[in-house]
Structures are given as C-alpha cells and as structure tokens.
Amino acid sequence: MSSPDAKPNPDPAERERIAAELAALGEDPLTDDPSDDEALAFALADAPDIDVSTVQTLARWAQPEWDDADAELSELAQARVWRTVELRTKQAEAPAPTPAKRPLLLGAVVALFAAAAAVVLVPVLSPSDASQDEPASVAQAPADVAAVTAEELDVLSMQARASLAALDRLSGQPRGSARAEAMADAYARRLEAEG
C-alpha cells in the first residue's frame, strides 16, 4: 500500500473527495505545495484494495520484527488504515461522546509508539536467546487493560487470523485432514527407515 510514483493530477471532483477525506482524518487541507504530492498520489492510487491492505498492514504490525523505520506507509496511509478499522467496527458501536477530542493521526502515532515499545521488548525474549531456564522478563499490565471492548476484541481477532494466514502462506504446509495424512505418511517413512 505504498504511494505510487506517478505525479498526481486530480480533477476537481477528485480533489474535493480527497480534501473531504483529509478533513475526516484531521489532516491539514491540500495546498499547491509539492509536499502534498504524496497525499494526492496515495489517494489517487489505482484502486487499491483497502481491505487487503489493512489486513496486511495489521499483520505486519503484529510481527515483532516490524520496525517503524522500515514502515512503507506514510503517516497519512497509516492513519487511513486505522480509519478503515474504525469504519469496519463502527456498526457495532452505539453513539457515544469521545472523551478526548484528539486528532486521529495523533492517536495513530501514540498507537504506533505503543506497538514499537512491544517490538523493542519482544526480540529480547525471542527463542534464539541464550537463557532458557529462567523467566526472561515480567511485565505488569496496566489495570485499565482489564476492560476490553468488543471493538478491541475484533481487532485482536483480525490480527490473529491475519497472522495465521501469513504463517500458512510462509510454511506452505497442508491443513486439516491433509496435514493429518501427511503426518501419518512421514511417520510411516520413519518407521520403515528404522525398521
């Protein structure tokens, strides 16, 4: 979901649509400044599949290897991913006042910072590390994490499923009954080899 390289040249209707989307994200309006080209190019990207991009992005963010410095997404694109998540879950949410009216982009930045904190800590505890017998770390969860909302569970569920799909693509192993048969066949080969 990276920004295309083509020079953007939106027609007035497109520019109006983009301006409305930026406003919804809490972004500054478009100007003629060349630095706005990235936002325009992203918005005019050739029909990107935002659902696929969102899941891919969330899956990548769920990986401990993910590093903010390697992120392909601009701040606008990151905000757009979170915005999509928000829209997908909005139907289940009753209208309620927002406790703090901070811009969505700020929320995304804070969220990324929190995710980055996990990224920094998790590799320290990875399986390749030397010390295996003792607890590597103990962390205390903040008390307010105890109350999890339905929307938050939706996102966790989506991340878990995206991770499973990514793992399956990476491993290429069979699933279900095919895996059971493959395990039995491999076991039979080992038995034959050792018999």
């Binding site: 406790p99 969220a111 990476l170 039979a188 038995l191």
Partner: protein, 190 residues
C-alpha cells in the same frame, strides 16, 4: 471507534506482548522428548497473556504410533464429508482414541481435532461447549506445543470466549495466539 480506543488496542497488544515471555530450547535432541520452556506473568485482574510452549521432537516410530496417526487421519477425512453434529461426533471419536505411549506428536493431532470440533460448535451456537473443550487443553498454566495447531486452537478459544462474553479470556487468548505465530514465523525464517 475513537482515537482513544485505537490507542487502547495498541496498548493492549503491546502490554500483552510484553507479559508474554517465550523461550524454546534449541538443543533438544532426545527422541520423544518434550522440550520445555517458558514462563510468563500476568495479574488476575488482567487478560492472561501467559504463553508456555514446548517443542515436539519426533519420537521413535512404532507400529502403535502409526496405527494411531492413521486412525486420526481417517477420522479427519471422514469428517470432511460431514456437517454439524455428525462431524462433531466423528471428530470426537478421534479425540477419544487412546494415545499410545511415547507419541508426543499426538498432542498436535489432538489440538487439530479439538480446533475443528470447536469451530463446528461455535458455528452451531454452542460456543460454551467449545470453550469447555478447549480451556483445559490451553489454559495459560499449561505448556502447549510450538505448532500451528496450538495457534489455531487458541484462536478458536478466543472466538468461543468472545461469544460467551468472557472478554478477558478472549483478549489474552488472541494475544497468546499472535505471539505463538510470531515465534513460528521466526523459526521458519531462520
């Protein structure tokens, strides 16, 4: 979902990610050995993201072990052609099969059977039964095999917990599955 909620999700992921502590013994070479690892921490007031894992090291093959694995594979195939309660009953037969001694691989096939059963139960609005099936197999204090089957079973338990309103269990379980898959991916990418 407001920006504050988005922040909360990220904080939740980050927090659960940090309470989970995984470690695996790469030096395992004894046949059939269940190589153990892992400790984690949580508080009773929060979702429990504790993940204990062990690696399934291939055992010395035996005729009994092969017969068991063949029987489970046949049951899985049989269930492929069934739906609903009939499929659940078939898969349950597989879960009830006596496991031969010295076959650590059975843990994986049992988790796969349990995941399929749980998925079918959830589909038929019997999430409580699915939860009842999976909780003893996956409780945080118990070590689970470092395998895709565990990750999928954890997702199923998360779904069952969500359906039954046990949000803390759901959040902790989803986080454990994500962490499990991160470890598996790291292993694959080595």
């Amino acid at each position: 979902m407001s920006s504050s909620r988005i922040q909360r999700i990220a904080v939740l992921c980050a927090t659960l990610g940090t309470v989970v502590v995984a470690a695996c013994d790469d030096d395992a070479d004894a046949e059939g050995e269940v190589v153990h690892t892992e400790v984690a921490a949580s508080t009773s007031a929060t979702p429990d993201g504790t993940l204990k894992t062990h690696e399934i090291v291939p055992s010395t093959p035996s005729a009994e072990g092969l017969a068991y694995l063949r029987a489970v594979a046949a049951i899985q195939r049989e269930a492929d052609d069934q739906r609903g309660a009939a499929a659940v009953a078939t898969l349950q037969r597989g879960l009830d099969l006596e496991v031969p001694a010295g076959l650590p691989e059975a843990e994986i096939v049992q988790l796969e059977l349990a995941s399929r059963i749980a998925g079918l139960l959830i589909e038929s609005d019997a999430a409580a039964e699915a939860k009842e099936l999976l909780v003893p197999m996956l409780e945080p204090s118990r070590s689970v095999p470092l395998d895709r089957a565990s990750a999928e079973a954890l997702i199923m338990l998360g779904d069952a917990a969500t359906r039954t309103g046990d949000d803390a269990l759901a959040a902790g379980t989803y986080a454990r599955s994500i962490r499990m898959m991160s470890i598996l991916r790291q292993e694959l990418e080595r």
